[in-house]
Amino acid sequence: MHEWAIANAIIRELERSLRSSPNIRKVRIVLGELQNIDEAVLRQYLDMMMGEVAPGVEYEIDHEEAVFECLRCGHRWTLRDVNLSDEEREAIHFVPEAVHAYVKCPKCGSRDYRVVKGRGVRLVYEVGENA
């Protein structure tokens, strides 16, 4: 599963950060709506891998709505304003930037827009005072 590679990236990053900041106690994993990660599958892999690499570190998963902004007309929109087929959603799941192939600005029709938030996966560490 592709979620395995994402879980592996999270674990590798946690392993790296723990070397320089051993006081990390908690990591918040923010999943952007655009990438449509399967949270249950991701949790399953994380639960398998975390104990060994980062014992005692807790994680929580948050979701972030995807918001787009047209760089031509300034219009903002969300995924609820567009129609995507299952195949298109699948392509965007693998590479979120593929969205530019299937979605145009609902107002002016431009493909020149940016994903303001809710793109993919990012980590937010809560580190101790001495970290």
């Binding site: 590679a5 592996n8 493909r111």
Partner: protein, 238 residues
């Protein structure tokens, strides 16, 4: 205290540090980076290596045309990540199967994001050498690759034209300023003999051979690339 981090570079560096990674770059478009990258992958496969060829020209991917793959119908599989497509002993990864030939303009950060996603989501199992075809110029993607990839082997493709020579001079100066002194310059499409061990003759047969690795393999240009690859293997560079 809160700190935000992108998890992808950690996995990319962990995977690529276990493999030889070749970045094929160049300051000009149309000098033949894609063709040279494909031929290098083919030459490596014929030497028994397990090359993974990655097209990171994310807004203008066309390596699949060289390889004869149709991104409309051929999708990579899923294992522990994206399972690259396979052709003639070469693994292949590109944004093309996901954008289906549609224009997908990406400004700086988004181009970098697409590059990170492709490199982080891949299942590298079984591949010993990664060959990356990059977009022309000294833009975001080239800078990102130099930042991301540990100890890359840098191949700079150029042509013997005066315009390319000017771009090449700037390109090499930047590489040297960044501490990359061991690049290899390949002079592609040379119409007369050059004073370089890394010249590839202009070969009309290459255009007709696009789409078939068997046909590419019998071109004069491929034989020149194969010699360069043999030299780099002998020296332990790749």
């Amino acid at each position: 205290m809160l700190r935000e981090v992108d998890p992808r570079p950690a996995r990319i560096r962990a995977e690529l540090s276990q493999r030889k990674t070749i970045i094929v770059m160049g300051s000009k478009g149309g000098v033949g980076k894609t063709t040279v990258a494909a031929m290098m992958a083919l030459a490596l496969a014929r030497k028994g290596r397990k090359p993974l060829l990655v097209d990171l020209d994310v807004t203008d991917p066309n390596m699949h045309i060289v390889l004869g793959l149709d991104p409309e119908s051929q999708m990579p599989g899923e294992t522990k990540g994206i399972a690259p497509l396979a052709v003639n002993g070469i693994g292949f990864l590109s944004i093309a199967p996901y954008t289906k030939g549609e224009p997908a303009p990406l400004r700086g950060d988004e181009a970098v994001n697409a590059v990170r996603e492709l490199l982080a989501a891949t299942d590298y199992t079984g591949y010993d050498t990664v060959i990356i075809d990059s977009p022309p110029g000294l833009g975001d993607v080239t800078m990102e690759l130099l930042e991301l990839i540990p100890n890359p082997v840098i191949i700079v493709v150029t042509t013997p034209s005066k315009l390319s020579a000017d771009s090449l001079r700037r390109h090499l100066r930047l590489l040297e300023e960044m501490g990359y002194n061991e690049y290899i310059v390949i002079y592609n499409m040379a119409r007369k003999p050059l004073d370089s061990p890394h010249a590839i003759p202009y070969d009309e047969g290459v255009e007709d051979a696009y789409g078939s690795m068997e046909r590419l393999a019998v071109t004069e240009a491929f034989r020149a690339v194969e010699k360069i690859v043999e030299e780099l293997i002998d020296k332990g560079t790749i």
